[in-house]
Structure formats: C-alpha cells, structure tokens
Subunit: 209 residues, 4 copies
Amino acid sequence: MNTTTNFQLNPYAVQLCTLSRWISAKQWAPAGSGNFSIRSNEHGCLITRAHKDKGELSPHDLVQISWNRGEAEFTAKAADSALLHVALYQQFPTAKVVLQTQSVAANVWSRLIKADNFLFSGYELQSVITGQPAQQQSCSLAIIDANQPMPLQAAEISRRASELSSGLLIRGHGLYVWGESLEHSKRQLEAWEFLISCELERMKVSGLL
Amino acid sequence: MNTTTNFQLNPYAVQLCTLSRWISAKQWAPAGSGNFSIRSNEHGCLITRAHKDKGELSPHDLVQISWNRGEAEFTAKAADSALLHVALYQQFPTAKVVLQTQSVAANVWSRLIKADNFLFSGYELQSVITGQPAQQQSCSLAIIDANQPMPLQAAEISRRASELSSGLLIRGHGLYVWGESLEHSKRQLEAWEFLISCELERMKVSGLL
Amino acid sequence: MNTTTNFQLNPYAVQLCTLSRWISAKQWAPAGSGNFSIRSNEHGCLITRAHKDKGELSPHDLVQISWNRGEAEFTAKAADSALLHVALYQQFPTAKVVLQTQSVAANVWSRLIKADNFLFSGYELQSVITGQPAQQQSCSLAIIDANQPMPLQAAEISRRASELSSGLLIRGHGLYVWGESLEHSKRQLEAWEFLISCELERMKVSGLL
Amino acid sequence: MNTTTNFQLNPYAVQLCTLSRWISAKQWAPAGSGNFSIRSNEHGCLITRAHKDKGELSPHDLVQISWNRGEAEFTAKAADSALLHVALYQQFPTAKVVLQTQSVAANVWSRLIKADNFLFSGYELQSVITGQPAQQQSCSLAIIDANQPMPLQAAEISRRASELSSGLLIRGHGLYVWGESLEHSKRQLEAWEFLISCELERMKVSGLL
C-alpha cells in the first residue's frame, strides 16, 4: 500500500471535505475521530490523514493509498482504520465512498446490543437502506467486536460480506457506511444514525428489550 | 393523477424550499425522507420529488400532481406518500400546505403508544394547535398503523376525518401536519413536535404511564 | 393598559429582537410561543405581539403597553401572558427585561415536580442566579400552577414575591426570567435552563428522587 | 499574582476567542460560566474575565495573571477559578492552554459517580486522550469534590498529579482539560465530553451500574 498526496487525482475531493464539515457539525466525528475516503480507481482511494479535525478538512488532508489484489499494508501517515476502508473497497467493487463516524448514539447502542447483528423493523426509514433483500420486512445491521486486531476485523468483513448491506458497526468504535456516490453514502449514514437513535431512545423508555 | 414540473405555477415554491431547509436543519427529515407539498389549485399541488435531500431542496425538485374528484393515482416520479398528501387536500379544502416529517422523537413515541390516538393535556402549547373543539382541555393526535397498503391508510384518513385537527402520526412512518399557509403549517409542525418530545421525555423518567 | 406601536421609544428594541432569534435557535420558544418584553418607563413596556415567530422578530412586532398603579388590563393585540409580564414589572422595580420561554425540558420538569418550589444544590451554576440570599448553599425556583385564571397567577406572584429571585416556572406553561438588562436576563435564562436540564437528566438515571 | 490587560502579549489570544465561541455554540459554557486561559510565559497566562459571555469573547476580555514559584494569589478581576488554572500550569510545565467548561452531561454525570475517579474502557475515543500509560486498556478521569475551598482543590490537584492525564472533573462544577496547544486542548475537550456523554447515555438504559 503506497501513500502519496496527489489529491488532485480525484475531482470529488472538495465535495468530500464539504461533507466532512457537515458530519462534524452533527457531532458524528468528534476530536479528530472518524475517517472518510473516496475511491480513485480499482486499487486506490484518497483517505483522511489520521486525527485531522473533521470540521476543518481540506483536500490537502487527504492521502492517496493503493493496494494490490488480496493484500493491503498499513501506512503510518494514513488513519489507523485505513485497513478496514480497503477491506470494504475490495469486498464491494461498486463502493465509491466509505464514511466512518463516531456518534455518541452509535457507540453507546453498539455496546448495549450483545448479539453480532440487529434487525430493525417497523421504521419507514429502513426503505432508504440499500443492499437489503427486496420485500424484506426487516433490515439487518452487523456488529463486529473491536477487541481483536484490525486484520482480523478486516477478515470478519470478508467472511460476513453476504450479511452486509451498506453499513456495519464496530462495537465501541463507530459506524462504517459505504455507497456508490457521496450523496448515496451520506443518505446511508443519515438513515443508519436515525435508526440507531430511534432504538436507543426506545430503550430509554422500554429498557433493553 | 398527472405529473408535470411547472413549478412556476406556484409563487410560494421558493418559500417552501426555505422551510424545507429549516426542517432539515432540525433533523426532522433525514436521509431524503419527509415530503412537503403546496396546493396549486382545487385539484392539484406541487410536491417534493422522491428521496430528494431536504436540506438542498430547490423549486426544480418539486413536481406537479393533480387529481380528479374521488380518485387519485400514484405517479412514479412523485414521492410514495403523495397519495396521503392528496387524501389530506381532498379531505380538508382549506389546507394549502402539507408537511410530512420524520423525527426520531415522533417515530419512537408513535410506537410506544399502542392506542390509535393520544390526548395531550396540561401543556400551554396545545393552544397553538388549530382545529380542536373550543374550550377543550385536551388536544388529540390520531395515530394510524403503517402495516396496511397506502390506499387503506388514505381511506382511514377519510373515515377518521372528524378526529383530525392539524396533524396525524403514521406509526413508525412520521408525522403529517397541514395548514392554511406555510407559516401556519410550520407553527403546527413545531407545536406537535414539541408536545411529542415532552411526552417522550416524560416517559424516560416516569415510564410508559 | 393602553397599546401603541411606538417601538422607537426604546433604544434596546433591536437588541431584544437579536436575543429573540438566539432564543429561538435554542428551541426555547417554538411555534410562536414565548414572549419577551423590555421596560420603557415606570408604567410601561414593549412586548412581543401574540403568536409571532420568535425566530423572525423585528421591532415592528413589539407593542407598547402601559399600566396604572395597582391595575392592569389585558389588551387583545398583546400576548395573552402580558398580564404576568406587567405583574413582574410592578413587583420588581429594577426589572428592565422579562423573558418568557417554552423549552421541552422546563415543561416536562415543571410537571414532574409536584411541590410549589424546588431547591437546587451542588451546582456551580447556582452562583449565577441573582436575588438569592448571600451565602445560601441552595437556590430556590418557585413553581406556580397553570390551572387558575391569569389574574390569580399574577396575584400569586405578588403574594410569593419574597420567594422569587430571577425566575419562576408556570407548570406546563414555561419559564419566566427577569433582570436589570438584556445581558443580565439572558444569563439568568441560560442558568435556569441549565439547572433544570441537569435535574431532568439526573432523573432519567436516578428516577424521580 | 498581578493582573494587567496586555493581551497583545500573546499571539494566540484571537484563536482562543474563536475557540471560545465554538465551545459556547456547543452549550458547554452557558450563562458566562467556563473560563479559558493560555500561557504567556513560565509564570503567567491570559485568562477570561469573570462571567463574560463565552459566545462573545474578544481579546479585550482576557486579563494577564502571573504567579511566583510556589504561591498564587487570587485577583478580583480574574475569574474565581483562576487559582485552579494556575495550579494546572504549575503542575504541568508543558500545558499551554487550560479549558474549563460546564456542560449539562459533565455536571450530571460527575454527581452520579460517587468514587473519586472513573475508568473508561471499550471506547475507541480513549485513544485520543493523552498522558495515559501506553498500552493501557482503560482511561482514567479524576473527580474532585467541590465542597472544599478552592486552595484545597488546588492542593488536591498537586497531590493527585500522577493520576491526571489531560482532564479532571470538579463534581457539579465542570470539566478542566489542558494541552500543549489550542488544537490539542480542543481535541482533549471533545474526547472527554464524548466519553462522559456515552457513559451518561448508557446509564439511562442500564442504570447506575
């Protein structure tokens, strides 16, 4: 995996930065957390530099990483989680954007749910989530444990790929969503955050189940 | 029901877009959800195109739909929920605007309430709600189940019209409000969202009842 | 009580409108609720016109009301709650500004507390509240029942004046704060809202007591 | 401890004011609460004037204070809490900025936790907190009781310095964070507020433990 800063390679870099500031204003990427990437080609993407304040992102804060088929190496200058971004791009050839966020609701809720996935049902917003079997009444979100090295998390993504629609949750480590465009990914992010917030609010009244 | 994009027919189209961005900033229409319409004439309205980001609405994103007395057909280009907007315009001749939103609070609360309506009492904000019997101490909000086809939901609106003041809740599918102007409808929306938020907050301390 | 629209009488009218928009952005005066006034002289004040959207207040939306010693009559064009504003100006000669707000937290909390006052203790923010006995460890907020005609509420303010510092709560009808300037009143409003929010949050974990 | 207003001594005064407005917009320093300081030299700092609205801070609202080795006197014009800022600068020679905030979440949570420190574990955001022993799985936040005179609180900071990383909580009196730059301190503040909010939200579902 090589790293360069040829951010000019991607015409959508500026739009990604605009989306980053929108996400930051929602408090979904506090304290330099969160990482956003955009695919440049079949084996490469631009990704946010580690720990950069997401409310102040500019194209200069994006670094280019690339990977060879089947192998991905971590680069110090990129974010720690670049490995999972790469795993998602490798798994989902149509994914053009990966957004990794850290909201309070997603963190808290991911730890309250002990199972390795959750079925949302009864919310109209489920219809926004792409990659779900047609006509399905419920919408599934996979949850992966964080207490394993990142390469094992990446392997779990590959192993459970058939379960994944447009998002997954790393327990206590935030939400990953992906999509075919910036607009599509933003919509997936909003929908997953909405569904998670609804369930967390419901629990405050009804308890854990 | 015919669909055209003669958005220029309605001088309030720009104001509706301004209100849309205000609603989006409140997070009451996330992920392209929510739909807003404004009556153009006795048998027609302008309505938001399906799935459009409500924080970026412009008059070009509004489509014209029309209906004949007693029948309304769904048009692919309009939002799925256009049928319910039409049902409300048909039922309430003085309604000029329909706002359909998706807040976390309204979604969660609509599912916690099992009855088909709820009586708010003791809140000064109830006085803002129009269409309530004068001197009434409580203020009623009808709740309709979403697990029935949309034409049946529309029929339920007709059947229960006498119960409806300026809003109704589709369980898990958001809130509909209507009014005689953009300003009036906005005020109804804020009042219903306030009342619902109060009851949800109360439940977090006092439990379901 | 006479009403005119000589808003130019008060040089602070524009600043009151700026504060109104700030309060509206905090969602403390939704749906045209809330009313703000500023004293013009010993027997008069400017007050917001009834039901005006507080996010769009301009000096033209302020009406002048005046009162004679010992009597105050309600004027249709002014807000319903003008009577309580007048009662506060009569009771507290140093009060220059009255801010009446409707937050979700204050509404919900005022109904959870059954007593007619509440003692806050242990919060540093209590030190911001003016009018408390020096060296007192706790800070008292009076709560008045809304299920009595407004003149009786005004009479209760007079009767309980010695208990009042810079704020009082009408159960289910919002918070009134007053102060010697716009800046002072804004600080009182923020402090009371903070203290009320803290107690409501505490109750969500610890229960009613 | 001498006080002057030579704010021009510090080139970062303007940036501190920008950060102050950002903190105010987050509602982390309401009603003139909160105090922010920036070190000018080994024995001095600029600190916010007492009770100033943090949403309207300008360099003129900063006062210079200085201290001699081992002793610090309180100056009336500076904020009451200047003594604790000084204690932190004396204890941590690399600290360049101290941010003292008052969020609802930190106030409520500090009073729910009865122990004198709290161990966060399982959150990725812990990795943002500096000054923690490397490879440690948990992240500790010290909590100091407010019901003791400020010089005793300062003494407790000295005595417990080895426990402190980049933040401490005064029970019911808000959060102090410090760092080697404005950017670093802002990141610490966001991370601590995030962790505290997560635990408070968790408690609303799971109870006190």
